[in-house]
Symmetry: C2
DNA sequence: AGCTCTTATGAATCATTGA
DNA sequence: GTCAATGATTCATAAGAGC
């Protein structure tokens, strides 16, 4: 599959893309007052004004039947939750977006801490926006097996697990696959249970690969185009690549673009090396 | 414990209550366009205007160090999530409330169903508002058992734990290793996992008793006063009664007040019958 | 394979200190 | 005053190593 990496502010970079070429935008922008050393730290009061012109570009490049998924969470300021995310939702609607749904990402291993009048924050928002009510959705791609015994096994819907299981089948070690056959599948809900990533320490705000993977499966098919305008270390692009989607990644920090390129190349090499073997070569 | 039940619109009934007499308001108001047969079905566009004068009364009767917890979820209108909850939060802040936190109630067994472009809705908001940053909170009342990791970790403190402690504290003995010894309870997060209740069929919007119970334990002590201005079948009041708090319940529908009174009396009778036995009589 | 045990770490929050 | 930087606090999960 093809991927393009761009260094720069997505506000400018996206102007070079044609209209209506993207099927899914999945992104986790810098939250207000976070990642200030790398992104300049947008103030909560300025956040909506900073975001909206970029959202206008998202709207332009997204296909009319595409989907825009925004991962964000407001921080606490002076003992209160900031309201900029609420204001952003209202403003995006005024820009013409439909606020179709709000998914909850339950972070099972959230950051530790104890405070006298607050518990640990264990969830983030995944806001789904659309240009039209007739957006594309492939629900069967994210169905989960029912029953507790396989829940632990399939909590991670990663492609590597699937590949490993398939290889087990091929080699005669398919212990679980036969059990799955005939098991009823169920549709998930709008609450996702995923742990935060423990592996990637080169980017300050990486989300687990299973998060973009889930939405890429739900809202795109193979050869569709995925965009992450705040790419970071490229987790969204790696997930897209593994799922055989095309991808466009943008980040303003050259170091992150380099990391993303490295991760994508590393995957491509592993993938290329594995391919002949799995085919019997 | 004492409880008062009132039939009427809380906007009027609350005006009879003195100022600053309530420690916790826990309520699940009629959602917009829901329960239209009983509450008249407030339109989404009118919801904030309908709610705000009642919120002003909540603010008046709540103690300065008390807490207001609002259980609410926006419905889907024309394929989109309504925005009246977002607007309500913004408007409540303008009224002087602090939006301290947003808890998520994850409904483990949510209503079944399937739609072409939407999954089942498995969560609701529990919005915490306060009059002051110095509100009362009794975290130890809602602690949950820790996982097995605690025992394993304490058996032999890992090298990293020891190094982290020493590097941060400097003293030879870590800060709270002693706290961990023998500890079996941990503080929860802001995500609650509770099943929905199927028991009460006579009221259209019943939540499980564990939901108000959790917040009553967290924000009040025995003999404190709990208010539910949209009482429904009285789940909040029963929870308060069981926890030996005083309670005020209001509902505009006489039938619901009757149901609530019946549930409270049923509990009191059981409780009274148990009392002598449990005291050894 | 299937256990146990070890280890790292995650968009956090608050109070205090310093500019 | 306002604002920025620093230090202290601390739990669940998954990957990996070992048996």
């Amino acid at each position: 599959m093809a991927y393009q990496l761009h260094t720069g502010d997505c506000l400018q970079v996206l102007q070079q893309l044609p209209e209506a070429c993207i099927d899914l935008i999945f992104t986790s922008p810098p939250y207000a007052d976070q990642r200030s050393k790398t992104y300049g730290g947008i103030r909560p009061a300025d956040y909506v004004d900073w975001f909206m012109p970029r959202a206008a570009q998202f709207q332009r490049v997204l296909k009319p039947e595409g989907t825009f998924v925004l991962n964000i969470k407001e921080k606490v300021v002076a003992g209160e939750r900031s309201t900029y995310v609420l204001e952003l939702i209202l403003e995006l609607r005024r820009q013409g977006w439909l606020w179709t749904e709000e998914f909850i990402w339950h972070k099972k291993n959230c950051y530790p801490g104890k405070w006298p009048n607050r518990f640990r924050d264990a969830w983030e928002r995944l806001l789904q926006f659309n240009r039209s009510r007739q957006f594309k959705m492939y629900q069967e791609n994210v169905m989960v097996p029912t029953g507790d015994w396989c829940k632990a096994r399939l909590r991670r819907l990663s492609e590597t697990d699937r590949m490993r299981d398939e290889s087990k089948v091929g080699s005669g070690f398919g212990k679980n696959i036969s059990n799955w056959v005939g098991r009823s599948l169920a549709y998930p809900t709008n609450v996702l249970h995923l742990a935060t990533e423990c592996a990637n320490r080169r980017h300050s705000a990486a989300f687990p690969e299973t998060l973009p993977e889930w939405f890429i499966r739900l809202f795109t098919r193979a050869n569709d185009w995925v965009l992450d305008p705040f790419m970071g270390s490229g987790t969204t692009l790696v997930a897209a690549e593994k799922l055989k989607r095309n991808a466009v990644g943008i980040d303003i920090v050259p170091e992150y673009v380099a990391i993303a390129r490295g991760q994508l190349q590393a995957y491509d090499e592993v993938s290329a090396a594995d391919y002949p073997r799995s085919m019997g070569f």
